[in-house]
């Protein structure tokens, strides 16, 4: 058989048989590009991050602990007196504001991202909450843009971030609702 075949192994899985005589040069290029594209799609499919929220031992009991859609319900709260939920700290700042804070655990795991050493995490409010001050860790959250919570989160570890809600004395009594959109990105 005059036709000489060369076996070229690409990556781990793909084997391409190339004919050095009958196949024109431009077809080689096209074949390589298509093969790389297919490989990249195949390998990328396996790369993923998982984000879950868990109740911190020192924090309020999260609804949906262990999932990516948690809830925090402080219940009925007062600047003065009243009941502070377990795992929540209340601090009254003079006669201006008061703050509820509680730690929550965040766990991020990676799959197929061998070269990623850590992750960034951002948080953003779904609704504008200008009357109140919302914080996750040291980041002040708004609905305008995602705030950086960490630039180098550690994979696999349960990391506690303190969520805090500061309420002005001048705010009217009533229900406070908002949702934090949290995004983690592999570095």
């Amino acid at each position: 058989m005059k036709e000489q075949l060369r076996q070229n192994r690409i990556g781990h899985d793909a084997t391409v048989l190339l004919s050095s005589h009958k196949m024109p040069k431009h077809l080689w290029i096209i074949a390589m590009v298509l093969a790389l594209a297919l490989l990249s799609v195949a390998s990328a499919t396996a790369a993923s991050l998982t984000l879950t929220f868990r109740t911190d031992p020192s924090g309020i009991a999260l609804g949906g602990s262990g999932t990516a859609a948690a809830t925090i319900n402080f219940g009925s709260v007062h600047a003065y007196g009243g009941v502070v939920p377990a795992g929540v700290t209340k601090s009254v700042n003079g006669t201006t504001t008061w703050t509820l804070s509680t730690p929550i655990e965040v766990k991020v795991t990676k799959t197929g991202l061998g070269t990623s050493v850590n992750y960034t995490m951002t948080a953003q409010l779904q609704s504008s909450g200008l009357t109140y001050t919302w914080k996750l860790g040291s980041a002040t959250l708004t609905s305008a843009f995602p705030a950086m919570v960490t630039a180098a989160g550690v994979y696999g570890s349960k990391t506690a971030y303190t969520f805090s809600l500061t309420i002005p004395f001048s705010a009217a009594a009533g229900t406070v609702n908002n949702t934090l959109d949290i995004i983690v990105t592999a570095n």
Binding site: A44, H78, A173, G174
Partner: protein, 178 residues
């Protein structure tokens, strides 16, 4: 025609390669929904007045005043306590103390403040400012108090006819936002 097909395939390949997730950031997202029901509240605390006796539990809502061992004639009068002997009928110990009332999460221009003795005392006379305090009912000290710090004077009048011994009572204060 063949060349066009090849060119198309090449472009498709490049497009697939460049747009593949390998070149995009790998992300995950989650949500934390937060709910709180903010209720209005009023704070009432007692603080030692600069011109008054040192309160036990100053800065809290459960203060104490201990006059110690006192007598109509002679003896030691505690610092910042005034003793007044009224003829041969009674004598009075008086001292100012500060009442601090604050409001949160409510539009309130002022507050009412009442005081009431916890235990009936038919012998001694208890006063806050000009108001006599009894255990029978709450006495209004102000109907329109200004939020912040207000000094009130506690007066305890003891008849000469009263036997020597300890006097104990508690005054319950209630502040209500108007």
């Amino acid at each position: 025609m063949k060349l066009k097909l090849l060119a198309g395939l090449t472009i498709l390949g490049f497009a697939t390669l460049v747009s593949s997730p390998v070149f995009a950031a790998t992300t995950a997202s989650g949500t934390v929904a937060v709910t709180a029901t903010v209720a209005s509240s009023v704070s009432l605390t007692f603080v030692s007045d600069p011109a008054g006796i040192a309160l036990g539990g100053t800065g809290t809502s459960a203060a104490t005043i201990a006059f110690g061992n006192v007598q109509a004639y002679g003896g030691v009068v505690p610092a910042n306590v005034t003793k007044t002997v009224t003829g041969v009928v009674s004598w009075t110990l008086s001292t100012p103390f500060d009442v601090v009332v604050e409001v949160a999460n409510q539009v309130s221009p002022s507050y009412t403040l009442t005081a009431q003795l916890a235990i009936a005392d038919a012998v001694d006379t208890w006063k806050i400012g000009a108001s006599t305090i009894t255990s029978a009912s709450a006495t209004s000290l102000t109907a329109a108090g200004t939020y912040g710090t207000t000094a009130y004077t506690l007066g305890l009048t003891i008849p000469f006819t009263k036997a020597a011994g300890a006097i104990n009572n508690t005054i319950n204060f209630v502040a209500t936002a108007n």
